[in-house]
């Protein structure tokens, strides 16, 4: 992750502007912004975040994502002096061209009213320069609240935040770095940013039907967030409703183990094929396109499994073009047609 100064950020004439969305990550100092960012995008585990220092000014990171998307993430240090600066001198620079604002509230904060005031000013600046931005509210560090009180406190906070959000339609989440709730929130945020997603979803659906899968999930390679999914009617009866974020958590945790075992960096790919055959289902996760992994859950059966695996290999080419459209050249078109005929 680079730590660039703000001035030399976006070149004067950025050619593909709509693809370079700005994602602002804001909230009071110590609320957990950098912690989340490090877990989702830099393969930290929760306890590593204790080592993080306060962010000075803005930490900028360019995260390459599928669909040729470069996530332009601004992790804005939350100390008062910085906040004032964003709202005054740097106002236009920070708040123009924002695709998404993620605002983090620390559940433990002793002065929620004051947090709301700051939020109010941020919303003011946002409506001035990027009135079409989406706003996500994370009520964070939920692990610090007694489980029985979580829902009430969360609802109360969300109501108060909504009241201060002007015309913005907020999407709230309860999060903690100590469980999978973090993955749920970030998967939905990312989901809204990826281009071609409806097309990808359509393709997943037809692939799923061909191989009679119960469920197909598309994971982004490094964050292992579920960016797209398709579920059959039967698959939809799965009683584990938080399974997407649980799977992200399971795989990311195991990647920590493999990184320790192989001595390769955590950011490295770690594995390319995983399969599990049980009495009542089978499943595989394979390296799919440049930026993705694919999970397929199927009914049991050796033949079904093998043919699904073959079909996924064939479909790979087609998805590769949706993943990185820019790479599409003259020869690519031919490959694409061949794949369609197959």
């Amino acid at each position: 992750m680079e730590n660039l100064s703000l001035q030399d950020d976006i070149p004067a004439n950025e050619p593909r502007k709509q693809r370079k969305k700005k994602v602002l990550l804001m909230g009071k100092s110590g609320s957990g912004k950098s912690s989340m960012r490090s877990i989702i995008f830099s393969n930290y585990v929760a306890k590593d975040t204790r080592r993080l220092g306060a962010t000075i000014d803005v930490d900028l990171s360019h995260v390459k994502f599928l669909g040729n998307l470069t996530l332009n993430l601004w992790d804005c240090g939350g100390q008062d002096a910085f906040m004032e600066n964003y709202l005054s001198q740097q106002r236009q620079h920070v708040f123009s061209n924002v695709g998404v604002l993620i605002y983090v509230f620390d559940i433990e904060s002793r002065d929620f009213d004051r947090d709301l005031l700051t939020y109010r000013s941020i919303i003011g600046a946002l409506s001035q320069f990027s009135s079409t931005a989406s706003v996500y509210i994370l009520i964070h560090k939920m692990d610090l609240v007694v489980p029985t009180k979580r829902e009430d406190i969360y609802n109360d906070r969300v109501d108060q935040v909504q009241a201060k959000s002007d015309a913005f339609e907020i999407t709230p989440f309860a999060t903690s770095i100590w469980d999978q709730s973090l993955y749920k929130a970030w998967a939905e945020i990312i989901h809204d940013l990826v281009p071609n997603l409806d097309q990808i979803e359509k393709h997943l659906g037809s692939l799923g039907k061909i191989i009679s899968a119960e469920e197909i999930l598309l994971f982004e390679r490094s964050s292992f967030l579920v960016v797209s999914s398709w579920t059959s009617t039967i698959g939809g009866m799965n009683p584990t409703t938080d399974r997407f974020e649980r799977l992200s958590n399971i795989v990311k945790t195991f990647k920590q183990s493999t990184s320790r075992y192989t001595g390769t960096p955590k950011s490295a790919e770690q594995f390319c094929h995983f399969e599990l055959k049980m009495k009542n289902f089978s499943l595989f996760i394979v390296k799919f396109t440049t930026n993705t992994y694919l999970l397929v859950a199927l009914p049991p059966g050796e033949t079904r499994f093998n043919s699904a695996l073959e079909n996924v290999k064939i479909a790979r080419k087609e998805f590769e073009d949706l993943d990185s459209p820019a790479k599409k050249g003259a020869d690519r078109g031919a490959t694409c047609t061949a794949a369609n005929e197959a």
């Binding site: 399974r243 795989v251 594995f271 094929h273 995983f274 009542n280 009914p299 059966g301 050796e302």
Partner: protein, 436 residues
Amino acid sequence: MSTTSSITPCRKPLSGTSFIGLENSIVNELVRVLFVSSTSTIRNTLVQPIHGTTFVAIVISDVSYISPAQLNIERVYEQNRLIAQKKDASGALESAPVPAAATQGKPRLLLMGQRRSGKSSISSVVFHKMPPNETLFLESTARVQKDSMHSFMDFQVWDFPGQVDFLDPTFDLDAIFGEIGALIWVIDAQDDYLEAINRLNSTILNLQPTYPNINIEVFIHKVDGLSDDYKLDIQRDIMQRIQDELSDHGVENAPINFHLTSIYNHSIFEAFSKVIQKLIPHLPTLEALLNDLCRSCRFEKAYLFDVLSKIYIATDSSPVDMPSYEICSDYIDVIVDVAEIYGWPRSDEYIESLEGEPWNKKLEDQVACLDAESAIVLTDMKRPIMLREVNKYLALVAIMREGSFEKMPLVTMNVETVADGLTKVFEITKQRNMVS
């Protein structure tokens, strides 16, 4: 995970590959010889794979030995018999109860040590899957907590209150130490341990005359956060103090083992693995089967795991290294977690539809194996790790050599044979225990 059931493999080896490896009959023979013969004659089966040909070489050597565990258990039985006899001789008609049949072959692990040394934490983390940081909220134990573990082998874990003086004459020593498998003495390495050692010494000296064969396992515990040098220093110091005291009282070579442990990493599971392995009477058979498997499938390392506790109960004879144990153990977590997410019961109609056109086959005939099978290929050096459920409690996990995933169909067949063999070993032992 599923229970054991008969397996109808319908997996065919890929065309052009030949099948190398153990044959069912050999394993059966091995198992039969080992467990029917009363002389504990071990027959060593060597299976040598040769590329491209089907070649099974068997070297049977007559090596006669008894495993330390068998020896140990036999000694304990002998000890019990003698004690019972003594009591009989003293004339009391209402003599000591002969160990009940139900507790026969159910070794007992006793957790003892000072207060707050971590006994309950250990038992909760290893046998009840408690996350380590939640042990902070455990309360001090007031009464002996007896846990019965029904796993690949039935055993009991007794968690003692720290301050109880069970050498007090009002305690029925025999009720505590009679059926013992091991006495685990927990010492808090982050605290002053002199008092703990004094109590351990007097316990050993008190037990020696009556129970000379008790395995004493000293867990030098809470070593997380201590440097490697410091850990070894402490271990040396503790060993020295115990040895000095015992030899002052004329006790030499008491069976005492030392382990450096912490609930915050895999070390506690490793230590338990070693303790439990001493209680498994057929360990050499298991090891022989795993050695064969490693040779025939070219595995780097193979572990037989108790899935619930993630203790490994056997491994091949190549040296155990923590990293390979850890990755295999973490891999079991992945399988258990994923199975929990997708293993929900499907409706009968749905299953019927899966068995209809175009398959026209029962689902159990569509799968190659009714037990869980899994593999993962690491990007680094293309090293696969494979897992195979053996029965309700056990799973085989092995690290394969780089680039060997292509040979998976072959490997799977060999593994299947060995898994069958392992299942039989455990069935036979269970029967034997019930008979005795």
